[in-house]
Amino acid sequence: MTTKQESEDWVYSEKVKEHFLNPRNFLMGDESRFSRDAEGIVGNPICGDQMKMFLKIKDDKIVDIKWKTYGCASAIASTSALSELAKGKTLDEALKITAKDIDNYLGNLPKHKFHCSVLGHEALTAAIEDYRQKQKD
């Protein structure tokens, strides 16, 4: 049986709606217009969502962040929220941002959409790994 709480769980919080309708830090159009030091991509359009993170890094700090997302409202809101959380942080601090942090920041995604925040976390991690790999090379 579905409880009232579970039924409400399908509804987006005001914060999710707000980020979905007014996403922050997204990259419009041509990607090459944003000069970045690293990027990370996760997900697959075939599965219904894909995220891409672009980072500008100075002295090990994320000085600017942009993203692109193909996906549902939760995916767009999650990437937007993550970009707000990560901006200005050092790479080590940014790596500590968990899917749960994104979820909390958004006032909780519907349960069946939690994977969107996981994807966001993975996209940022992938971008930071990309940067660190480039530093090594």
Binding site: Y12, K17, F20, L21, P23, F26, L27, M28, G29, D30, I41, G43, P45, I46, C47, G48, D49, Q50, M51, K52, K68, T69, Y70, G71, C72, A73, A75, I76, H112, K113, H115, V118
Partner: protein, 379 residues
Amino acid sequence: MIYLDYAATSPILPEAKKAMLDVLNNFPGNASALHTPGHRAHAIIEEARADIARLIGAQPHEIIFTSGGSESNNTVTNIFAGQSVAVSAIEHASVLESARARCDCVEISVDKHGKIKNSSFEKILKKSPKLISIMLANNELGTIQDIKHLAKLAHQHGILFHTDATQAFGKIPINVKDLDIDYMTISAHKIGGPIGVGALYIKDGTPFTPLIIGGHQEHGKRAGTYATANIAGFGAAARYAYEHNIPKLYAEKIAPLRDELASRILKEIPFSSSNTAQPSLPNILNVSFEAAEGESIQLYLDAKAGIAISTGSACAAGDGKPSHVIMATVNDAEVAHSSIRFSLGLNTTKQDINKVTKVLPNIINNLQQISTIQTKGAK
């Protein structure tokens, strides 16, 4: 609000609401009881049955009432439990999943427009299943099948034929005797009746096993106290559809609006394509937009313009299952995830269509601009 999700459910007709209130206000009793209130309920139910039968060209005794389309479909697959059954790959889940669960089920392929593939159908005929079930018109695409022809071929091979007419009912003319089918599913709330009641047409003399047992109602074909108010509402909606020749109204008034919506979207929105092909129901349009995801389009339309539409698929629980209908037709998950369905109703106006074509291009453009997928030809 602009409601363009009539295929999901449609607002109740004033005539149906009145019929239901008459029942609720005048407590007619249990239709199975022998006393006077019981007789009154019985009379109301039989009148509704006759109205519904008339709309589809059936005899009243060939109709049983159910709780809706899903129960009617489940009733049919249950008759053939443990036996071989063939269903089209684009059936509603209440046919597809119940047939897979109960029967030895094989699927019939469709072409890219959702039409039954002749080659696949012929192969199925040679397997001689006990039942073939093919929907009259598809709920996501609107595609209409040539049921008369398919049923004839099935019968030539001694195979019984069921059609789920839930979406086609009340939208196009349907005559069960002309189609010569054995079972047909219909539902009240798609034609302005209440949610919670449907019917199953069972041709005289066709094999039958009840799904719900434990009562003599419907001559033992479906146990359970009659939902008199719901049935009265269903009957009133069917009467309205018959007396006002609603299918004709759909063809003359709604189909041109749908066609205009289609041609304007395809012309004015880059990287759009239609998943709906003729012959289709007059009120359904399924379109895909490259690089823009369906649920996002749906929520933007709702939040920014108060326009209610639906998606064929939603990403849930990370399984990202695309619409089985679009996978069966074009077999492209990206097209499926990027598709939305407009379904028009009798209250839809030209102003509604104008509003959609005014706000949709910007919404699609924004989603395409922030998308990880590059539209073909875009930089």
